[in-house]
Amino acid sequence: MHIMEGFLPPAHCLGWAAVSAPFLVHGAVRLRGVMREYPQARLTLAAAGAFTFVLSALKMPSVTGSCSHPTGTGLGAVLFGPPVMSILGAIVLLFQALLLAHGGITTLGANIFSMAIVGPWVSYATWKLCTSIGLSMAVGVFAGAALGDLATYVTTSVQLALAYPDAATGVAGSFLKFAGIFAITQVPLAIAEGFLTVLVMNALSEKTQVLEELGVVRGRT
């Protein structure tokens, strides 16, 4: 989902940066709030950030014979809400742009929008929907993490399609071309990410009250 340095026209770079900026400001405010409200959750916050740090570094093989990486943003989105995750995701993307030449400074706004904004929001909404219709926490976390991962890659495909519409088939045709590169590869990896997210969420919460304390589930605090 990383759009490489210099691969989006300057107007698109500015546009996506402008779209992402308010989300990041909101995220910074929420992050301060979370740190103040739940000082005991700092360890969990570190784990959520570390989870996306690990998963976005792992390029894994998939059924199409190419490699792609998960995003790891679903865990933090469910635990702390999508705004907080936007900050954690942006830090990871900045690190990769500066030190790994993966992604870029010019494309940072676009990459933040797909991985640190759309992904977490889709994860959060999916998880909320699943648990509100009576599905278990584990199913909700799985579906949220997996769909958030996929949504990130669909967003990247849209961004590339908008920048480079196909001469004959337009934006729609171009979208199908980029989605063809990303989507099928991503399906098994998104499922794997869903599994992993459930495992890590369980490890963090199994013997603790962290989900209750953060208000993720209703219960005694």
């Binding site: 093989p61 190419s66 490699c67 584990a138 590339l160 969420m201 369980n202 919460s205 219960g219």
Partner: protein, 107 residues
């Protein structure tokens, strides 16, 4: 709060490994990255395409690049391990205290 049973935990772990290992075993491919494939598709669709901006710093070789990726994963995994250790240490400590003073738990 416990999300899944011990049995489900092993199944998910096995499932995760299978999802990554099976393609590698069953599918013949180049296993290039999709991010690079997308960049190539952009370049192919735009005759004479050149990125208008270059990375400020690039890892000088694939070895250094994989070193940095490994470092990123190791840092993250280290932090997660540390947090889980702290959490479970605190749980064990609490349980030990409750064993010593069982009257505390009887409300």
């Amino acid at each position: 709060m416990k999300l899944i049973s011990r049995r489900a935990r092993y199944l998910l772990l096995l499932g995760t490994i299978a999802l990554v290992v099976l393609p590698l075993v069953l599918v013949k491919g180049q296993y290039g990255g999709t991010d690079d494939a997308a960049s190539r598709a952009v370049a192919a669709s735009q005759p004479g395409f050149h990125p208008w901006f270059e990375p400020i710093w690039k890892p000088p070789s694939p070895e250094i690049e994989s070193l940095l990726f490994a470092l990123q994963a190791a840092l993250g995994a280290g932090i997660i391990g540390y947090v889980l250790g702290r959490i479970h240490g605190a749980v064990r400590e609490r349980e030990a205290r409750q064993e010593k003073a069982p009257t505390d738990v009887a409300h």
